[in-house]
């Protein structure tokens, strides 16, 4: 087991190295000179050249890459071109907000989505199931930024129940979390339903029924345990999409999190911020996926034994299919 976790951690290194390379190359091929952007159109060519030299933009790509990695290893993501503040400080300050937003919405969607999925699958092909699944598809198809605006309009402006932006009080978290959780809940419910339906057809469920267990025990003791594995995978994948979604949600609800920071970095072409932001969010995502995989290996002996024998093997990552 330890060896498995160790292997997975080692695999994380090339992935993160790769991401930083991709980001660096992307910024490199971007049209427009960051130094020129920073100084404005009035600056002389001399000033621009000096700043480029100072920022190290004139060095070849491999040199900049190694320097970037070296700095990251020393806990330094550079300073923002706009605010001149160290990016690590800014990120640390903003990180809790994003973490809070993302985890609250995921908890909410798990708490709602799993029971809905179970309910729908135990009432398969009845009107209850059909309604629940149609509603779920409806929610998956709703643009969350649009839903967010409509909720602000209804609960913030019209009814005045909740603040329209900011998270100064706990009430401020309600709308953003609901907006983010809506689609995720529906995704989880759909996955839960289809997995449970698949499991219910297995022989061991028939056996459980045949030996006279109550339907509740069959579903919860035998069905759910086996159906949960793909659902957990989807929850891992959902974490990634909610990190992406936090970009927009944080801007709409003015939550001072990482998403908002990255968006402002993108708008200002503040490339160290973009670099650092993508790296941090991707690392978060990679760690969650790792945790999910470890959780699996703990839950499912089949996966564990597969890794015990063949250390380089890997499970298929669901969540891609969402």
């Amino acid at each position: 087991m330890l060896r498995y976790i160790g292997n997975r951690l080692l695999l994380l290194i090339p992935v993160l190295l790769g991401i930083s390379l991709v980001v660096l190359v992307l910024i490199d091929i971007t049209p427009g000179d960051p130094a020129r952007m920073l100084l404005g159109a009035q600056a002389t060519q001399q000033q621009v050249d000096d700043l480029r030299e100072e920022l190290g933009l004139n060095d070849p790509l491999p040199v900049r890459y190694v320097r970037f990695i070296w700095n990251v290893l020393h806990g330094d993501l550079g300073t923002s071109l706009m605010t001149k503040r160290p990016i690590v400080d800014e990120m640390l300050q903003r990180f809790p907000y994003t973490l809070m937003l993302v985890s609250l919405s995921i908890v909410l969607s798990v708490l709602l989505g799993i029971p809905i999925g179970i309910y729908a699958s135990t009432h398969q092909n009845t009107w209850k199931d059909n309604t629940a699944m149609f509603l779920a598809l409806f929610c998956v198809s709703m643009p969350s930024f649009w839903f967010a605006l409509l909720m602000i309009r209804l609960f913030g402006v019209q009814l005045r129940w909740l603040p329209i932006s900011g998270v100064a009080t706990w009430k401020g978290w309600i709308l953003p979390c609901i907006a983010m959780a809506l689609g995720l809940t529906a995704l989880i419910a759909r996955q839960m339903r289809s997995d449970l339906l698949e499991v219910i057809r297995q022989d061991y469920i028939t056996t459980a029924r045949a030996k006279g267990l109550s339907e509740g025990k069959v579903i919860y003791r035998h069905g759910l345990k086996n159906a949960m594995i793909p659902v957990i995978m989807v929850i891992g994948g959902v974490f990634g999409s909610s990190l992406g979604g936090s970009l927009i949600a944080e801007v709409i609800y003015s939550i001072p999190g990482l998403g908002q920071y990255i968006m402002s970095g993108l708008n200002n072409r503040d490339y160290p911020v973009i670099q650092g932001g993508i790296l941090i969010l991707s690392t978060m995502f990679a760690i969650v996926i790792l945790l999910v995989d470890v959780l699996f290996a703990l839950v499912d002996p089949r996966i564990r034994s597969q890794y015990a024998r063949k250390s380089k093997g890997r499970g298929k990552r669901v969540g891609d299919e969402t």
Partner: protein, 298 residues
């Protein structure tokens, strides 16, 4: 040589027949699902709307009229006017063009790259497979929407760049499904037969692997169109997609955001348009999944 060609011809013919009956079978299954049929009709209408937008729209989308700023619905302007007095209905109709382009072209890009990558990785196996999968690992370690936003921002905001960003950002899903599917097709007898008559690898991939492995991707592609319409609207919403004055649903919501208090319907209509198109794609995808694999639904 000629004999071989003839043989190839007859094989192709029977194959075509089989393909036809397979498509027919899928259609027969799909027809049973009322919602999926409705979704298909909605999508066809949407495509027609986009193609014939200049004929269907009552006004040109950029025609301004300062007297009608934020005017409510009237007989001339069924859904009212926006800030610059432009007809909202016309803008919604023209907006379907941008959204459909983002959905269809982006998915075409993503699916093409994904299919090639998955086919090559699955067919060659070993280090090629390993390399491709490691690349995809890196790819997927970045949250998809974050990747699309970054690409779009870096390339500069425009419809074309948004499409490219969405296309590149969504490759991994297709590639992984394709690879998994190729792994089973690779072991089939007809691939072995093709190898036996010394067909080149490129030919085997083109003629045997891809056509036979593509079925599981159909659902993913259908739903992908919906996903790209939605992500594209989100890109436009944050100003990274279609630029004014060209109408786009996401951008229209963004414009309406500042006047949500006074004119909430301005944001309502484009949102409904997005939702209907995405919902139609998802319903059709669901229907196709059941049609392709009827044992799931009984």
């Amino acid at each position: 040589m000629r004999e071989k060609a003839k043989e190839g011809g007859s094989v192709l013919e029977t194959k075509r027949k089989r393909k036809k009956s397979r498509l027919y079978e899928i259609w027969r299954q799909l027809k049973k699902n009322k919602l999926a049929v409705v979704a298909l009709i909605v999508l066809v209408l949407l495509v027609l709307l986009a193609i014939f937008a200049p004929l269907l729209a009552p006004y040109p989308y950029e025609k301004q009229n300062s007297k009608l700023s934020y005017a409510g619905p009237s007989a001339d302007y069924l859904l009212g006017n926006d800030k610059l007095g432009r007809d909202i209905l016309s803008r919604l109709i023209y907006g379907s063009r941008q959204s459909l382009q983002m959905g269809v072209i982006a998915v075409a890009i993503a699916a093409t790259i994904g299919i090639l990558l998955g086919a090559v990785a699955g067919f060659y196996g070993r280090w090629v497979d390993n390399l491709c999968m490691r690349l995809l690992d890196i790819y997927q370690a970045m949250p998809m929407f974050l990747l699309c936003v970054s690409l779009a921002a870096i390339m500069g905001p425009s419809l074309r760049n948004a499409i490219i960003a969405l296309g590149i950002g969504t490759v991994p899903g297709y590639a992984r499904i394709m690879r998994a599917s190729v792994l089973t097709v690779r072991e089939k007898e007809y691939v072995e037969a093709a190898k036996a008559i010394d067909a080149s690898n490129a030919r085997i991939i083109r003629k045997h692997i891809i056509p036979n492995a593509i079925a599981p991707l159909i659902v993913q592609i259908t739903m992908g169109v919906g996903g790209c319409i939605m992500s594209g609207a989100a890109l436009s919403f944050i100003g990274l997609g279609v630029q004014p004055p060209i109408p786009e649903w996401g951008a229209m919501i963004s414009d309406a955001r500042s006047v949500m208090r006074e004119h909430p319907t301005l944001a309502l209509y484009p949102g409904i348009c997005i939702m209907l198109s995405v919902l139609a794609c998802n319903l059709l995808g669901d229907g196709l999944r059941d049609a392709l694999d009827p044992r799931l639904k009984n």
